[in-house]
């Protein structure tokens, strides 16, 4: 079989495994908190007049129950409350699982590609170390500047946050690879600088925090999100390492950049 097909197969298996594992854990940890937070979510932007405080309604807000001040239009459909029917709930569960599997396969392909490129042989145990690196780069480092958010939490401009998130993840991943594989001191120093840079620049935050979600809920969500990400990366890393050791021959590794 072609190397590329074996590589993609290894990533696919690891991604499906980790995506499945994280789906189970999410339903018990993060998803209940997301549903809880949506009860507090303000679906209309706060009005400019000082008398109209943001409404933290306990039920899903309806168009008839609130003044809309003309310009305010709800921006989200899913964020407006807990699913009302079984069909809605099931649909939401299935799309979440699908998104988790895709996330697993996406990260799996990225991880398998970098493993092959670096040329060091991997197995399940070494894969676990790779998974730890992935967790630091793609979960811990971005969360250090932008804590995992619940629906309804106030945040800076979305594009700015996405850009910073991406920069933090990419710089941390590149920096960690340099720390692990570089043999030149200058490259190691550059790796450290790359890891620090996004945090020295600082993540975008709003001028005044204006979320309606109780801070206790948000705090619980941060640990739940990081915990499930840790599990995801542990499974993905070790599964990817194991599959690579079975699917991708030693020759393929030795030959990379020799």
């Amino acid at each position: 079989m072609d190397l590329i097909r074996r590589l993609f197969s290894a990533a696919l298996v690891a991604g499906v495994l980790s995506g499945t594992a994280v789906s189970v854990v999410q339903q018990a940890t993060t998803v209940p908190l997301i549903l809880e937070a949506e009860k507090y979510e303000v679906t209309v932007p706060p009005a400019p007049s000082p008398t109209a405080a943001p409404v933290a309604s306990t039920l899903a807000p309806t168009a008839t129950g609130h003044e809309h001040h003309g310009h305010a239009t709800p921006e989200r459909s899913l964020g407006e409350g807990v699913p009302a029917t079984t069909e809605e709930a099931l649909n939401r569960l299935l799309t979440t699982i699908a998104a988790n599997l895709l996330t697993g396969v996406g990260y799996g392909l990225l991880l398998a590609g970098v493993m092959l490129l670096m040329g060091d042989r991997v197995d399940a145990r070494r894969g676990l170390l790779w998974g730890a690196g992935g967790f630091i780069a793609f979960a811990l480092a971005p969360a250090y500047g932008l804590p995992p958010e619940l629906p309804g939490m106030g945040g800076a401009d979305l594009e700015a946050r996405q850009l910073w998130w991406f920069a933090a993840a990419a710089c941390s991943a590149g920096g960690l690879l340099a720390l692990a594989f570089a043999r030149v001191p200058a490259l190691v120093a550059a790796g450290v600088a790359a890891i620090l840079l996004p945090h020295l620049i600082g993540a975008p935050h709003p001028e005044t925090p204006a979320g309606a979600v109780p801070p206790e809920l948000a705090a619980r969500f941060v640990t739940a999100s990081l915990g499930s990400a840790a599990l995801f990366w542990a499974v993905l890393g070790s599964a990817c390492g194991f599959m690579m050791s079975r699917f991708v021959a030693a020759d393929d590794f030795r030959d990379a950049f020799e």
């Binding site: 072609d2 190397l3 590329i4 590589l7 993609f8 990533a11 994280v22 999410q26 993060t30 998803v31 997301i34 921006e75 989200r76 459909s77 899913l78 964020g79 939401r92 799309t95 979440t96 699908a98 998104a99 988790n100 895709l102 996330t103 396969v105 996406g106 990260y107 392909l109 990225l110 991880l111 398998a112 590609g113 970098v114 092959l116 490129l117 979960a139 971005p142 969360a143 932008l146 804590p147 995992p148 958010e149 619940l150 629906p151 945040g155 979305l158 946050r161 996405q162 998130w165 991406f166 999100s225 990081l226 499930s228 990400a229 020759d251 393929d252 030959d255 990379a256 950049f257 020799e258």
Partner: protein, 58 residues
């Protein structure tokens, strides 16, 4: 090392690098779709997964 084995090593190396880059590129494409793309339907479908994985969502 003979010229013959040098050539074959070079060919395998480029093949290995091509496979690795293809996987990384395709993986990034999938992750962009799941984590970053903003069309409403994609956003709604991936909503809970995005929040759980701490992608900036909305």
């Amino acid at each position: 090392m003979t010229i013959r084995s040098l050539r074959s090593t070079a060919a395998t190396t480029s093949r290995t690098a091509a496979a690795a880059f293809a996987a990384m590129l395709f993986g990034s494409f999938i992750l962009y779709g799941v984590g970053f793309a903003q069309p409403q339907q994609i956003h709604d479908a991936a909503h809970d997964a995005r929040h759980s994985f701490a992608f900036p969502c909305h």
